[in-house]
């Protein structure tokens, strides 16, 4: 009796430990698949960019980086970011405010439209602007007559970048604005604050981390955008070449070290924005207070 119960227990323990091992194995397998995929798809390409860039040593690498055209491309990329991010910030704030705090007809449609750039291919976005502003385009002859250059010039590249970066700031702010409600703004206004005071002292501090998060995402996309900008830029070296376009040109010309050096520059920029983004994302829960602590 005693021994049989012991053996039952032993068998049960065996069964349990087998279950336990199966579970462990399953977990291990899933993690391994995940890691292999991660290494293949993310780590290897990044490492390849760096090794290709440094294949001939450090000095050709820096030489390629400091080439006039590469520096011009970097400058243009930064210029595009410096113009696009403030515009999207202002627009994102206004749109998220209007959509999050008020209800009006066509609100759902507006939200859908804001997401449009996510689903439209960037190349198509670029083509839209060529169709509108290009020499053969809708307003092309008028623009030509007044000597205004949009396509194959900075304005066109800005428009294309604006199109693809449209949703980023709004999408970060909207859920927060909706969750926070209007109480605090109403309280501030009744306490005598002006509209601007209410915005700067009450609304903005409540959304600042989400706003910065959205701005970083927007900047990252503006730096990296290829398709839309490619269509409208005309690839004029030193004039309308952003970094991603420059990488392609160099690569097509078999200047591999230069191409990968420029690519590594983009990579460094994106790692930097990723770090920033993580920092702001960490700060986000602070905003949640507005929702979480409502109870008491």
């Amino acid at each position: 009796m005693n021994s049989s119960s012991t053996s039952v227990r032993w068998v049960a323990a065996q069964g349990l430990s087998r279950l336990h091992w199966q579970k462990k194995l399953g977990q291990g397998l899933l993690i391994a698949i995940g890691m292999i995929f991660f290494v293949l798809v993310l780590v290897l390409p990044v490492a390849a960019v760096l090794t290709e860039a440094l294949r001939r040593g450090l000095s050709p690498y820096f030489e390629a980086l400091l080439a006039v055209d590469t520096l011009a491309a970097l400058k243009l990329t930064m210029l595009v970011v410096a113009i696009v991010v403030p515009i999207q910030t202002a627009f994102g704030l206004a749109a998220a405010w209007a959509i999050g705090k008020f209800s009006f007809r066509g609100k759902r449609t507006l939200i859908t439209l804001i997401d449009l750039p996510f689903s439209v291919s960037p190349v198509v976005a670029g083509l839209i602007y060529v169709l509108l502003f290009g020499a053969q385009g809708l307003w092309g002859s008028w623009l030509l007559a007044h000597n205004i250059r949009i396509i194959f010039a900075l304005p066109g590249m800005l428009l294309a970048t604006l199109f693809v970066t449209f949703p980023f700031v709004v999408r970060q702010l909207l859920p927060l604005m909706e969750a926070q409600g209007k109480d605090k703004e109403e309280a501030a206004l009744m306490l005598g604050a002006s509209g601007w005071q209410t915005f700067f002292f009450v609304t903005l501090p409540g959304i600042r981390w989400a706003l910065l998060h959205g701005m970083v995402l927007c900047a990252a996309r503006a730096m990296g955008e290829f398709g839309a900008v490619s269509v409208v830029s005309g690839h004029i070296r030193g004039a309308t070449n952003t970094l991603p376009l420059h990488v392609e040109i160099l690569y097509n010309e078999y200047q591999f070290v230069a191409a990968f050096a420029a690519a590594s520059l983009l990579l460094i920029l994106s790692l930097f924005t990723l770090a920033l983004k993580n920092y702001f994302a960490q700060k986000l829960p602070e905003n949640g207070e507005g929702v979480v602590f409502h109870g008491h």
Binding site: D183, A187, L191, A193
Partner: protein, 256 residues
Amino acid sequence: MDIKLFNISKTYAKERVLHQVNLNIRSGQFLSLLGPSGCGKTTLLRIMAGLENFEGGQVLFAGQDTANWTLKERRVGFVFQHYALFKHMRVAENVSFGLRMLPRRERPSSKLIGERTQELLRLVQLDGLGERWPHQLSGGQRQRVALARALAIEPRILLLDEPFGALDAKVRRELRLWLRSLQKQLAITTVLVTHDQDEAFEMSDHVVLLNQGRIEQEGSPQELMDEPASPFAANFLSLKPVRSSRRLQSFGEGLQ
């Protein structure tokens, strides 16, 4: 300051929520708007505050039409159910907000603002908690911060939108007795929105019972309890028979 509402109507998405409501609030009175959810009491309060527009009719503050007044010009102290404190400001900064937002030539010196803030914190019994953050306070404490913040601008009227709704029963009871005595001390015209008849009866000079956007009955708590004017009033006011007997008792004590 006395408030008069004439013929106030309001429609939300084609649904009438207020039907030609008339109301007189005497200066220094504590008035409760009582009724089930959806009866229009909060909308009426928000109309008084200037937060909602309405169709036809007038809202008079001390006999003057407020139609074109800004929120600032109304100088209304408003307390929200969920406090609406500014989470990124300390308690003292919350309380002094209204004073700090004044244009430079009207604004008191920062020393004066500091003193006034301390005074208000003492008034709501939150002495020494000025440096705390709102999330470090209990619900009852937060609501008292909200009250101090509303009082800082020396409001002409105090509007309370279910201020105890998010608090537990014990705190709620303590706070309403305390608030009632504070209101008497300050002699400030006060309108309370609530769905809890105990709360309304215990605190108010005058109770207005609302049902589906109309005033069903109004009068002193005693009048409403003694003579409910309609089946709705009788039904709504006797929802909790056990507690109402206790309420009668406490009224008896109050009369002695």
